[in-house]
């Protein structure tokens, strides 16, 4: 029974307006196996899962479950075919009881409607099978996220599903909670369920999975047996480089000026937020480009948000030029001449309906307050300077920014932050999803910026890029800074990959 193919997705393509999110991707799930789906942002993982679970319709390809080809037009169709899903954000109803959430839509019914006694008994039984002993009549919201995840899995088992999809179920759990989850996953696997497991944590992949499918940029990289794929190879496949290429790329960073001399622009000491960033220290000097390297979910973005005050830290302190500051809001950070460009350009960067000009002056204007408007001449001056400097196309500042390409939107956003005259600028994935030409321009702009004395905190999932532009690199793994690397002539991408992968025997570099 184990090893038998249960679900087979072949040649799947999905196109969104302007973007081919999935291009000829295969995925095969087998009974009694845990299958990990790996890839960085934009690889197409979530799109593929949504195709499998009936949220999106596929444009091309076929989905075969238990030998029969299926067309899913809703999540209900997929559930009926035996595919159950537990999402990253718990997709249950917090206002209902645990038992109701497990049984919703399939409550036991008698002559007078729902038989609650039988319904709760069935829920309790489903939980007992997973070793969960909580009261099915308790409110879901009274339990921790971890327990809610387990309840979601219990719901999935009631469906009598042959396939269980776990979409980043561990991203907000601590270690012991993850172990409890894994215990349950193993039980289900041993009972013959095909489990599809999506995560960013390499340790977990190697702990639980039997097989790995890697996606990159909407395409299939390959399917591997976990035991036959060393960590280093997995990371390099996710990031899109072959071994030989990686070794060849060395540091390209320009000469470090007087970095690490004088007063640091910013010092973070023990910044910590529960479930997001472990206690982390960080020092940034003027004129220095510092890279944050790590996989998605390693805490790189979360750390940047804590520094900027986009999220509130639970502990730790921040010093700006050696004097302690409470940066608890973005506004406070901007007031201390810190700027932050979010990785999520669409929902946290651009104001889509507003023009390029308005987007560009927004942060400066917000700093001044509404009663002291920038004059048209001042606006034109800023717009003229940054549209030209960044080479924004089209150069017409009155176009709504949503009509620009991703690369040009990014240039406008860079302009927005530079216009605030920052001493520290945090750039989270400034080159993601933009074409090669624009990417090079933005990299150059960053290097030029540092040359003028601005400190840059640079985050990218493309390690090659991090190694090329950074003077110093902090490496993160499992929500912690695990190493600090001074980027010299002999530093290579593979050194960083070693640190990220945690491959002890290959890590022979300048880890601090």
């Amino acid at each position: 029974m184990a090893g038998e193919v249960i679900a087979e997705l072949r040649h799947i393509s999905i196109t969104f307006p302007g973007v081919k999110a999935l291009d000829d991707v295969d995925l095969v799930l087998r009974a009694g196996e845990v299958h990990a789906l790996m890839g960085e942002n934009g690889a197409g993982k979530s799109t593929l899962i949504k195709a499998l679970t009936g949220v999106y319709r596929i444009d091309e390809g076929s989905i075969t479950v238990a030998g029969a080809e299926r067309v899913f037009s809703s999540t209900a169709d997929a559930q009926a075919a035996g595919i159950a899903t537990v999402y990253q954000e718990v997709n249950l109803c917090a206002n209902l009881t645990v038992g109701e959430n497990i049984m919703l839509g399939r409550e036991a019914r008698g002559t007078f409607g729902i038989n609650w006694r039988a319904t709760h008994a069935a829920a309790a039984e489903a939980m007992a099978r997973l070793g969960l002993t909580i009261d099915p009549r308790s409110q879901l919201s009274s339990h921790s996220l971890a327990v809610q995840q387990l309840v979601a899995i219990a719901r999935a088992t009631v469906l009598d599903s042959s396939v269980l999809v776990l979409d980043e179920p561990t991203s907000s759990l601590d270690r012991s909670e993850v172990q409890q989850l894994f215990a349950i996953v193993r039980r289900l696997r041993d009972a013959g369920t095909a489990v599809l497991f999506v995560t960013h944590f390499l340790e977990q992949v190697y702990e639980i999975s039997d097989r790995i499918t890697v996606l990159r940029n909407g395409r299939l990289v390959g399917e591997y047996r976990t035991a036959e794929l060393p960590r280093w190879d997995l990371v390099s496949r996710m990031l899109g480089h072959e071994l030989s290429q990686l070794e060849a790329i060395g540091a390209r960073a320009s000469e470090v000026g007087d970095a690490e001399s004088g007063t640091p622009v910013l010092t973070a000491e023990g910044l910590y937020k529960k479930g997001s960033v472990g206690p982390s220290d960080l020092v940034l000097y003027p004129g220095e480009i510092v890279g944050l390297a790590g996989l998605l979910g390693s805490g790189r973005t979360e750390l940047a948000r804590l520094i900027y005050g986009a999220d509130r830290a639970d502990a730790g302190r921040t010093l700006v030029k050696d004097s302690p500051r409470r940066l608890t809001t973005p506004r406070a950070a901007l007031g201390n001449r810190i700027a932050f460009s979010s990785e999520d350009r669409r929902s946290e960067g651009i104001i889509g309906d507003l023009s390029v000009r308005q987007n560009l002056v927004l942060a400066v204007q917000a700093k001044r307050g509404w009663a002291r408007p920038l004059s048209r001449a001042q606006q034109d001056e800023l717009v003229g300077r940054y549209v030209a400097a960044m080479g924004v196309h089209p150069a017409d500042p009155e176009v709504p920014i949503k009509n620009l390409s991703g690369g040009n939107q990014q240039k406008v956003l860079l302009g927005r932050w530079l216009a605030t005259d920052p001493e520290l600028i945090i750039l989270d994935e400034p080159t993601r999803g933009i074409d090669v030409g624009a990417k090079a321009e933005i990299q150059k702009a960053i290097t030029d910026l540092a040359a003028t004395g601005v400190a840059v905190l640079f985050i990218s999932s493309e390690l090659e890029e991090v190694v090329r532009v950074s003077h110093r690199i902090y490496v993160l793994r499992d929500r912690r800074v695990i190493a600090e690397v001074v980027n010299g002539e002999d530093t290579t991408v593979s050194d960083i990959v070693n640190l990220i992968a945690g491959d002890a025997d290959r890590a022979e570099t300048s880890a601090a």
Partner: protein
């Protein structure tokens, strides 16, 4: 090229609708367009429309700003009633109701009270963070009670010639009410567009999270907008009470919040917040008023107006609906961003929003 730009202007269809309404009236009764001069004032159907639209104009102006920040203000009708009650009760209680000073104080008093009521709404929305629809529902309820408390449940009538001027007076041949609405509209438009208020409001309305990260302080902006909405409803209340020279706590501004929302939506400002158009709201108000006037003018019982309004609301909603747009074609597809996971909220799988996942 030029013609297509005109057709694609956001006000093209509203203006066409307005012109069509005027044409229908003129064809059926050519006197519709005629304007006569009597005792230094202009009279005629068109002038009536301008005068009668002034109350709705003021309320809709405030509503435009509130809606731009993703809010809504249901309390304007009740606030309008309070303004009339305060002013007329003051005039009625004074020994010189015809005195210009008395009238000035009465008006300022009425406006001050409504400014406070507006600020209260703003406090609930921006500080306590209660959903706008609920926060303003409270005052929609209690406001009429407050108005009746002030008038002691009577319909306070007064005799004050200066006060009557607001509604029935003429200046330079034009109705004073119209001039008040015009001046206030221009003033608000200039203040909002000349200061950075308009842009920051739009930023908060389009994308609150991106605005927060850009350092925009939404709290103050939202507070101002609700206070302003209250104040403008107060001005409208002065015009209303001046028109009938009575404070009618029960009927003053009844359902005006719904008409105002309708006018804003007709004018092309989305209820989802963001880009707003004061000019669009002006056109929206004129359409509603012309519709009401033409129904009377064409001899249809005015009470049936709601049916026409229902048709207008349904038609506008359908043109704004994603599903209808998707059916009509990709050219009109909206690329508005939503911060949630792409497209899960809708059943249609092919939507621009999903590009966010890529």
């Amino acid at each position: 090229m030029n013609a297509s730009r005109i057709v694609h202007h956001r006000l093209f269809w509203p203006v066409v609708a307005l012109v069509a309404l005027i044409l229908i009236n003129t064809i059926s009764r050519p006197t519709f367009l005629s304007i006569t001069v009597k005792e230094g004032g202009l009279y005629g159907s068109l002038i009536d429309i301008l005068r009668n639209s002034s109350q709705l104009m003021l309320v809709a102006l405030g509503m435009t700003l509130v809606i731009a920040t993703r809010g809504i203000d249901l309390s304007v009708g009740a606030v309008l009633a309070v303004a009339g009650a305060v002013s007329l009760t003051f005039i009625g209680g004074s020994s010189h109701p015809g005195d210009l000073g008395t009238v000035t104080i009465a008006v300022l008093l009425g406006l001050a009270v409504t400014l406070v009521l507006g600020a209260w709404n703003g406090f609930l929305v921006s500080v306590i963070k209660i959903q706008p629809i609920i926060a303003t529902l409270l005052l929609m309820f209690a406001g009429r009670g407050i108005a009746m408390l002030i008038t002691k449940g009577q319909i306070t009538t007064i005799n004050s010639p200066p006060y009557a001027q607001f509604a029935s007076g003429h200046l330079l041949g034009l109705p004073v009410a119209f001039l008040v609405a015009l001046a206030v509209t221009v003033l608000v438009a200039v203040v909002v567009r000349r200061s950075a208020l308009g842009m920051l409001m739009e930023a908060v309305g389009v994308n609150p999270e991106a605005s927060r990260l850009a350092g925009v302080q939404a709290r103050g902006i939202i507070w101002i907008v609700y206070a302003l909405s209250g104040l403008l409803a107060g001005m409208s209340g002065i015009l209303y009470s001046s028109n009938i020279m009575a404070a009618d706590a029960n009927n003053a501004g009844l359902n005006i919040e719904l008409d105002a929302i309708l006018a804003v939506v007709i004018g092309g400002t989305s209820l989802a917040g963001g880009r707003f158009s004061i000019a669009g709201t002006v056109v929206g108000v004129l359409i509603i008023q012309t519709l009401t006037t033409s129904i009377t003018f064409l001899g249809i019982p005015p009470a049936i107006t709601p049916v026409f309004k229902a048709i207008v609301v349904i038609a506008i909603c359908l043109t704004q609906s994603q599903r209808v747009r998707a059916a009509i074609g990709s050219r009109h597809r909206r690329t508005r961003q939503t911060p949630t996971a792409g497209g899960l909220g809708t059943e249609s799988p092919i939507e621009a929003e999903k590009a966010a996942t890529a």
